[in-house]
Structures are given as structure tokens and as C-alpha cells.
């Protein structure tokens, strides 16, 4: 049984199910119990679960350690940050404490901690509210990092993250929050570490993360009209990375475009290209290409910030070049205006 839910509703459902199934699960976050309820995802949970959902002091660093400590004695905390930039205050606790706890004590104890982190863009969020630093977390052995796209995956991956006995960074793009999709009822999990083939194709692989999957789909649609068959991969998890799934696709198509929401240097798009180049070199028919956020802080000015984000049209153009398609035959998708708000023409389902 499925029905159509918005991503935020799917998240709320996952939280509800997890809390009902396991009394050790609890939620903490600035505003977790306020009327807006973390983008609507925690509304109603306080009524049902009382003190197992709590607001907290404005103290990201300390609270992450406190969540970790509670996990050491059997609790299963879910911590939430409304912007990734706020989570950065807790990098010691995340990267140097929680992530290493299991390994540095010889595997005695994992830390079942989920940290929901929101990334996003738009409305002049500016340099300090629009960083997409999933690569920082992806760089740390001991962390798992997921970036779902569909409502179904938001629910399934969140439930899997909560059940995981390791710290999981669960990254939500704000521009996906209001997109709907069919979501199975009840309990299920989506495996961490497995990519999803969004549409299969034979000419080129577009491997994307988070919101860039939407751009990749639009690019593939316009390529299809010009007779180019693009395979779109939603990476879903960036640590562990589904190398096998990526290579399977690249070996088939012989071409790769990697599209991430973060900047290129030291980022995920670079990793994807590196894996393909190292392991599928002889299958490649064209040089792989990378797309990501521009290599600068994101400014506020409305005429500048859109320039920081690659579009479906950029991906389609690169794909056309890779397959040797005459660009004139390509009807390039236009970015929706205004470009600092989510594209209203697509609200799901996929």
C-alpha cells in the first residue's frame, strides 16, 4: 500500500514509526517542539512521545557530545540542524569523537546517532547559510552519509539510519522538502550504500546527488528528445559510496557526468570521476565531466547567486558534447524563474 506524500511528511512518518518501534529513539534540535516543527517534520510528535522529543540550548557542539554520550549507554538520538552551517560548530564531536569511537576502542561500541542536516539554497541565504559540505562528512571514515531524493527514500533511508549502529549524517536539501512521491505505508528500510537507477540509458551516465538529481532528470529528458539515451543515477549514499553500481553503469555507457551540490575540489563529483577513471578507464569513450557549486562562497545578490548552481541545461550540453551530438539538435531545458526559489513546475511525483 502506498500513497503520495511530501518529503517532509515522509520524514515525519519515519520519525513516528521509529519512535513507536523503539523507546530508545529520541529527537533533539533547536525548534524541535516549536509550532513550525523542523520544517513540519516533527509536528505532533511531542503530543505522542512527550519528553522523547526536545528543544535544546543553542549549543550545537556540546549537544552533539551529549547525544553521543547518551548513545553510549543505550539511547538512540536523532539530532537536527536547520542549516548545515550550524552543524559545523560540532565538527570535533562529529568527526573526531562519534565517528572514531568504535574504531579507536577496538570495536567495542558503535554510536547509533543520526544527525539530520539541512542544506539548500535560494532567497539570498548568502555565504553563511548555503554551504553544501557533505564532502566534509564523506571524508571521515566511521561516518555514514546519506542524501535522499525521493519521498520513499527519505523515509526508508531515515529508518535505516536510525537502526544503524553508527553515526549517520542524514542530509536533506530544502528544495526537496516539498516534493511529493509515492511512499509505502508502515515500516520498511532502504539500504544505506546502494545507489538508485532513476532511468536507465545506454549512451551516457549522469551520476548525481540530492537536488542535482532533479537537474539530471530534466537533462536526460531533453537528451532523450534528441535521441541520446542517458542513464541517471541517484547516488543516495555518499559514504559508503556505491562504487559497484557506478562502475556497472559507466562500463555500460562509456561516459560519465558527475553532478553534486557541493564545490568540486575535494568533493563528491571529483570522487565519482576518480573512481570511474581509475577503475573503468578502458571503457571510457569520452573524458568524464564534473558539475558542482561554483568555487566561491554563495553571495546574496539575486543576480549572482543563481550563477553558482549548475542547471539541467549545463548537464545536457556537456552530455551532448560527450556523445558528439550537434548542440543545435538539443532543446535545452530552461531554468525556472525566479531562480532563487524552488522550481514550481516540478513538485513530483517522480
Amino acid at each position: 500500500m502506498s500513497r503520495t506524500l511530501k518529503v517532509t511528511q515522509a520524514i515525519g512518518e519515519a520519525l513516528d514509526i521509529a519512535m513507536a518501534r523503539d523507546k530508545r529513539v529520541y529527537i533533539m534540535g533547536l525548534g524541535a517542539t516549536d509550532p513550525r516543527g523542523l520544517f513540519g517534520t516533527t509536528v505532533g510528535l511531542e503530543k505522542k512521545y512527550g519528553s522523547r522529543i526536545l528543544d535544546m540550548p543553542t549549543a550545537e557542539n556540546g549537544m552533539t557530545g551529549i547525544a553521543t554520550g547518551s548513545a553510549l549507554v543505550g539511547m538512540r538520538p536523532i539530532l537536527m540542524h536547520q542549516r548545515l552551517d550550524f552543524a559545523l560548530l560540532s565538527m570535533d564531536q562529529i568527526a573526531t569523537q562519534a565517528a572514531k569511537w568504535c574504531y579507536m576502542f577496538g570495536g567495542q561500541q558503535g554510536i547509533p546517532l543520526v544527525i539530520r542536516i539541512v542544506i539548500g539554497r535560494g532567497w539570498g541565504q548568502g555565504p553563511q547559510h548555503s554551504q553544501s559540505l557533505q564532502a566534509w562528512f564523506g571524508h571521515i571514515p566511521g561516518l555514514k552519509v546519506v542524501m535522499p531524493v525521493t519521498a520513499e527514500d527519505f523515509k526508508g533511508l531515515l529508518l535505516a539510519s536510525i537502526e544503524d549502529n553508527n553515526p549517520v549524517i542524514f542530509i536533506e536539501h530544502r528544495w526537496l522538502h516539498n516534493i511529493s512521491g509515492t511512499v509505502p505505508k508502515g515500516y520498511y528500510t532502504t539500504p544505506i550504500g546502494k545507489l538508485r537507477v532513476v532511468r536507465s540509458g545506454k549512451d551516457i551516465t549522469i551520476a548525481a546527488t540530492s537536488h542535482m538529481v532533479l537537474e539530471a532528470i530534466r537533462a536526460a529528458e531533453s537528451l532523450a528528445k534528441a535521441g541520446v539515451s542517458a542513464e541517471v543515477l541517484d547516488m543516495r549514499t555518499i559514504r559508503p559510496l556505491d562504487e559497484k553500481g557506478l562502475l556497472r553503469s559507466v562500463r555500460k555507457t562509456g561516459r560519465l557526468i558527475a553532478a553534486d551540490t557541493g564545490v568540486l575540489q575535494g568533493g563528491l563529483a571529483s570522487d565519482l570521476v576518480a573512481i570511474a577513471s581509475e577503475r573503468a578507464f578502458k571503457d571510457l569513450k569520452a573524458a568524464p565531466r564534473r558539475f558542482g557549486q561554483a568555487d566561491c562562497p554563495v553571495p546574496t545578490a539575486q543576480n549572482l547567486s543563481p550563477l553558482c548552481y549548475p542547471t539541467a541545461s549545463d548537464l545536457a550540453t556537456a552530455a551532448a558534447e560527450a556523445v558528439g551530438l550537434n548542440l543545435k539538435r538539443l532543446d535545452l531545458p530552461r531554468p525556472a524563474e525566479p531562480r532563487d526559489l524552488p522550481d514550481k513546475s516540478f513538485t513530483g511525483p517522480f
Binding site: D34, M56, T58, G126, A294, L304
Partner: protein, 332 residues
């Protein structure tokens, strides 16, 4: 409180005028924001005008100030350029941060306003650092650091206060306690009965509470603190009780959300810093009704100039996107 000598009439008038300037500025921005031409998050301080005005009046033009996300008042009261502030909200090239930052990133170095950034508490250590630099340079400047009640929960605040006390740095820690961090009341963030000023005093810092809606009280307390700091007497923590009228972020009222009571809101509205000041000034015959009208007309004219300046200004050139990432790589 012991009876204190009245402040000079001109100063009292100036304090009022400066508060009205913040109020009219923000009211105009509130009117314009729904046009969606200012495309950035905004945190208004309507209701909180007395604190920045009183603090700034106690500072010298070349003293320093820093702030966080709710900084319009702090910037303007310190002498920040109004035209360039409006232009920044519109993301224009002429903005005080060249359109790079919007409302949450105000700066006017000529006015000693060294920067405001929206990561809660992040500018508190930076402000302690400017005071540390001042002390090392021996320039006799004082730094005022503005932040909210929420910011006192961050580790960075505590680390910074400790160092300021250790080195007797010339700092005014100005905490505007408006009872909320976004929609979260103090009761879910700090133990019942906690008085922030008492708590901070344990660091060995002089720590005082004042009426954050009374510019004259804020001024007196800040003047004492600034004088002490300038003479090498070290930092002071000043907690001012006040209240934000509008929603946390944005130009609307949000009392319908139910996170605070209508009664509480009405109680604080009665304590409007402008209303109270105006009454006292009239009663003490410091101003006449005519004076008040003229002051208001002057300010309204100034605000309209700023609106026009901002709206008429060009957006930044696209070529600046990759400039200024490193010092010396831009147009300045």
C-alpha cells in the same frame, strides 16, 4: 534605584531621535519587503531600539561594534550608512557588503562597525579579538559586542568571556535578552530561575542587568562600562531586557503561531521604548509636539532617500563572482 541626575537635554533628544530613526527605517523596510525585491532573510529589531541607541551613544565614533543576525539597529546606531544598508538588502553593488551578504552581513568600517554575521555567537570571540588587538596596540578603543540570550548558550561565548576577563580587555558584552531564540522560550533552553547576568558574573566579570527599553538607562550603564574599559578596568557584561515585536525572521507578526501569548506581547508593546521616551520628553519639556513632528519628517525624508538609492542602484557586476575570495584579488 538611587535618584540619578538627569541627562543633558540634547542627549535625551538625540537618543529619542536615534531610536525613531531605527524604527522608521525598519517600518519602511517592513512595508517594502513583501514586494520581494529584497531577496534575503531579514531579522527586524522593532521594539528593541533602545539598547543599540543607548550603547552607541556611550561609544566614540572610532570605537568598535560587532553583531549577529539581528543587527540593523546596531549598525545604524553606530553610524552605519543608511543608504548602503538599504542597498545591501536589495543585493546591490552599492551595498555595505557590495551585495554579497544581504541583511545578515552588515559592515561599515568607517563607523567602527566591523561586521555582523548570522552564525549565533560567532562574532563574540571575534569582538573579544578586536579588543585584544586594541589592547596590544594601545589604541584605547572599546569594542561593544551585541548578541541575544540564545547566544549565551554557545560554548564560544563562554570561552570568549573567560579570555576577556583574563586579559582585562576593553569589551562591552551587550546581551539583548528578548526571551526567545526563534520560537524557543528560555524555559526550554536554560534552567528555571536562571538570571543570565548572575550566571556570567561567576567568570569574575562585572555583570549588570538593565531595562533594555529605556535608552537613558542603557546609556548610563554603557557609559560607565566604556569609561572603565578605556581606563584598563576590563570588560563588563550588560544584560538588557527587551522584546522583539515581529516574527523571528521576516516582516510579519507571528503571534498566531502560539509560541508566545498575546498577553505577553501586549505587555511588552506597552513598554515600547519610543512611546515611553516620547512621554517623558514631553513631560520634562525637552521637546514640543512640533519638534517631534519635525524630527519625524526629517527622518522620513532620509529614509526615502535610502530607499531610492537602493532601488536605483545597479546589481553587482557578474564579473565579481570570483573576485575577493582572497585578499587583493578584487576591485577593493
Amino acid at each position: 534605584m538611587p535618584k540619578v541626575k538627569a541627562l543633558p537635554a540634547k542627549l535625551r533628544r538625540d537618543l529619542y531621535r536615534s531610536m525613531l530613526r531605527l524604527r522608521l527605517c525598519e517600518e519602511r523596510l517592513v512595508e517594502l519587503y513583501p514586494e520581494q525585491e529584497m531577496r534575503c532573510p531579514v531579522h527586524f529589531s522593532i521594539g528593541q531600539e533602545a539598547t543599540p541607541v543607548g550603547v552607541s551613544a556611550a561609544l566614540r565614533p572610532d570605537d568598535y561594534a560587532m553583531s549577529g543576525h539581528r543587527s540593523h539597529g546596531h549598525y545604524l546606531a553606530k553610524g552605519g550608512d543608511m543608504n548602503r544598508m538599504f542597498a545591501e538588502f536589495y543585493g546591490k553593488k552599492t551595498g555595505c557588503a557590495s551585495g554579497m551578504g544581504g541583511s545578515m552581513h552588515l559592515i561599515d568600517r568607517e563607523a567602527g562597525f566591523l561586521g555582523a554575521t548570522p552564525i549565533v555567537a560567532s562574532t563574540i570571540p571575534i569582538g573579544v579579538g578586536t579588543a585584544f588587538g586594541s589592547k596590544m596596540r594601545g589604541d584605547k578603543k572599546v569594542t561593544a559586542i551585541y548578541f541575544g540570550d540564545g547566544a549565551t548558550e554557545e560554548g564560544a561565548f563562554h570561552e570568549a568571556v573567560n579570555f576577556a576577563v583574563l586579559k582585562k580587555l576593553p569589551v562591552l558584552f551587550v546581551c539583548e535578552n528578548n526571551l526567545y531564540s526563534v520560537y524557543s522560550p528560555l524555559s526550554v533552553r536554560q534552567p528555571a530561575g536562571r538570571v543570565i547576568a548572575d550566571h556570567v558574573r561567576a567568570y569574575g566579570i562585572e555583570s549588570l542587568q538593565g531595562d533594555g527599553n529605556d535608552p537613558e538607562e542603557v546609556y548610563r550603564m554603557s557609559m560607565t562600562a566604556a569609561t572603565k574599559a578605556r581606563r584598563g578596568g576590563g570588560p563588563t557584561f550588560l544584560e538588557f531586557a527587551t522584546y522583539r515585536w515581529l516574527e523571528h525572521c521576516g516582516a510579519s507578526y507571528d503571534n498566531d503561531l502560539g509560541y508566545r501569548s498575546k498577553a505577553e506581547f501586549e505587555r511588552w508593546k506597552k513598554k515600547c521604548p519610543l512611546l515611553r521616551s516620547r512621554k517623558r520628553l514631553l513631560k520634562d519639556k525637552i521637546v514640543t509636539a512640533d519638534n517631534l513632528k519635525n524630527i519625524e519628517a526629517d527622518i522620513r525624508a532620509e529614509v526615502e532617500v535610502a530607499v531610492n538609492f537602493a532601488q536605483a542602484s545597479p546589481f553587482p557586476d557578474k564579473s565579481v563572482l570570483f573576485k575577493n575570495i582572497y585578499a587583493g584579488s578584487g576591485d577593493g
